[in-house]
Subunit: 152 residues, 8 copies
């Protein structure tokens, strides 16, 4: 059976990735999960710590962002399905950027956010094949997509 590759983009301050991972494990789905580096500090400083410090924060950020891009672009390009999570806090422009990037590559896109963000995310949702409200819905969708099964 084919393994489905899932990339989990977006919010890093809640446990939504863990809930999706737990659900996939519990259901025994043949899914290989990948994600960006979710340690905020590491993600910010990785470039400067490996390749040398920068006095200007703009270039400090650039070094980190481009090193992270080696990871994220590679994983999105390899993914079958990209889930993008938007939370209430922070601007999360990188999540929306990933969504656009995935859409242009023809990946199946699932967004995950509260109804309160619907209007602000209407363009992103309009490019998605599903809009989920809870991580468990993502797991249920994967189970259906892979096995054609629904609960109860």
């Amino acid at each position: 059976m084919q393994t489905w590759r899932l990339y989990l983009s977006g919010e890093i301050h809640t446990d939504w990735r863990e809930r999706i991972r737990a659900g996939i494990d519990e259901a025994g789905l043949p899914v290989e999960i990948s994600s960006p580096v979710t340690d905020h500090g590491l993600s910010d400083d990785c470039g400067a710590r490996i390749f040398g410090t920068e006095s200007d924060p703009f270039w400090h950020d650039r070094k980190g962002a481009q090193l992270n891009a080696i990871r994220t672009r590679g994983l999105i390009a390899a993914a079958d399905i990209v889930v993008v999570r938007f939370g209430d806090q922070y601007r999360q422009w990188n999540a929306a950027f990933d969504a656009g990037y995935a859409a242009a590559l023809g990946k199946s896109l699932i967004t995950l956010h509260e109804p309160g963000l619907d209007h602000a995310l209407k363009e992103v949702d309009g490019a998605a094949l599903a809009v989920a409200r809870a991580p468990e819905q993502v797991v249920a969708a994967l189970r259906y997509v892979i096995h054609g099964q629904l609960d109860g």
Copy 2:
């Protein structure tokens, strides 16, 4: 001489598009400018007004977002250069989505925003070939790219 196609994505509440357009006109650059529909109300309601009202705002938004996508995806795909403007207000996830979409298509990306947004936009800037602070810098960059000329 080749005409360069420029798509102007993002913020719709300030005059940055007009300033770029005026600068291009003044410099006589062979640039064809396109942009999303920038009338906020029209952009929100276009789908429902043409194809019929929806009681659920989620689907009201969907109809509008997908009708707008006919315009925006067509114009981004046809563009040589995509400028994405981020302002202080609103979440502007559609701007970041456009940036990701353009990047995945291999378009030359220029971002336009204040330094105060640098950290939040570091992934988007990392995919761009230039980060501008003012519309006039975008015009100067276009003049250089097209004619190889700098001011003074």
Copy 3:
């Protein structure tokens, strides 16, 4: 201003193409319209009449279908927007085939059909950016997409 290329696929027994064409002319939209050969008899017999008759109707049809494909695939590939019309009669598998072909090429897809066909067309509609009920809605959508204008 950019000219938008529109391909009109599907039903050939009603006047929907003429109504779209009249609306585009009236609105003065910069749209170049193309369509399959809509003379049913010609479309069936073109291959055999040009390249020689076939005793087996299967190959008679093949010759015609592949000659028509030179036209239709070329025009769909060149189109920005593909409108696919489904009527009450006939199976119209070629219309659905064109819709799938256009979707895979990343064209903006608009379907045009009565609500009574919604359930049967749900997969095709799910790949479309708009579902219209009348040719005049297609014209209104094009006017919005191109000029950002809505009626009164």
Copy 4:
């Protein structure tokens, strides 16, 4: 030896998939079979059951169709050969849509239908590399394609 990936699209009310599967098993062919969800009720309701009910059947259908699209587009894109079955009943526009989608992606297409549908399917057949009348012919074709062997 290479495994060939086969996607079986179309009619869900007869046993043609089982007959192909049985034939492949019997011949021991290195073929990995995939297909859409063939439980009609599940396929219709999956979206609403996972992501929430809709009062309007149009959006109920949309949610289901797009969730199914995550499965079908992923599997067609991964397939080497796509078989599309048309039966006497139902309009099966999704089957023709899949055929067009597969053709535009350059997949090897095999159609499977009775001669009575030949004229209605001439465009789809014209894009196919083989037209089969029985599931056993599909199996024989696969055996030939993979092993270069024919029966007795």
Copy 5:
């Protein structure tokens, strides 16, 4: 109206290109015709005459073939329809090579040859959308493809 780009590959010792050109002119079709250099001697020696002689005929041929490739690949890539003519004489492997090249790029392919070559050309014909026996059939096909018209 769209101009169709036609590339005429293959045999250079008969007047088939002139007959197609005359027919297109007479019918007033919006077709832009291109072809390889059909002066046999020039085509063989162009590389050595421009870039310097070679003592080894193998490299003499290489220089010429690759210079011709700048022309032929560019024109095939730009073509909508590629006609490949096979005659009785010579091996014409470059014609078959062009046919394969055009097929892989998704161009609409028309072959033009006598029935006596059918068996030897079955793979090439199998990739073509039409098999013509006379240049006038190619013109008639183009007229149908472009205008949807057949003769009397």
Copy 6:
């Protein structure tokens, strides 16, 4: 270590494929070999035998050629390196077609033929990265390409 996929196209009446296979086996190279069906009679008749006889040899050939195309196009698309062998006999237009098809897909092309065919094959050779005279040279090239080793 990566496995290299090799497709062997062309002449079916000499033992060149066996000599390449034996050389690869002897050298223990990680190469997966594929080829068209090389039984001439099967290859001609496969379509008619599986899908039904045809009274017209043209369509008999078409059925066979297109069934073979499922195999050959799939294998060429999956190949890293395509070797095309031309012999003294037969027109072998399908070999030249495969070469053009492989070249357009960006595959590494190696031709294999006697010097006596050099002039007739100059366009095909001009698209190749190597021209071999003997199967053993192909094996030596593969050994070098994969392991960076030369004999003695």
Copy 7:
């Protein structure tokens, strides 16, 4: 008649571009010439002068190089033929980079350099369809490619 787009990459300290341009003008060839910005100082400083100075020369260079890339990548992607000139002085890694970039995009590549550089440039020449020693040879090649004519 089709206009051919020519991009002239590489050395900026001799008059080779002018000689090609003069030859094209004299021959009246339908060629549209483009090139990088050839004013060395402007090319180095453009980024910093438009977008602001940098204290670190590494980022000064980065700003300029990426602004130039908007021009060069756009023009190479639009070109039919890319000529890359290597001179005796400087490392000219950007010329070799452009050659690799053009080759991967499938552009027709012509190199232009003295025989003394042959060995050092063998990989680049191996990806080219012609190796010229003088600008006038490039003009003669273009005249042949476009008009099928040779001098005297």
Copy 8:
């Protein structure tokens, strides 16, 4: 866990590849390393030794360069990340060519060179996602990209 494919292009006279390999082994990273043939003499002479000697060194080089291209293009196309090393000696145009080739294919590019080469390499660095000064930094970057871990 996914295996990352790394291609190491450029300088062949220092031990940088060994240091990267040792670092990857020590860190136990799931990385598959590939590289060009790094034996200078073999790399120069491989074509002539396998396919026959050439009296003209230009064609001697051509034969070798194109045989090497079978290896290098195949491996670059298969790579996720391409590291290009530039040293103080030699012109290394093939390294810059590889960088351009990899960039056009959308590979993640890392350059590795001393600060003294920064200005000469600014265009290549501008296309890279990271610029390293030591092989150990490349290993650290890979460790971060794959595992999201940094040292102490």
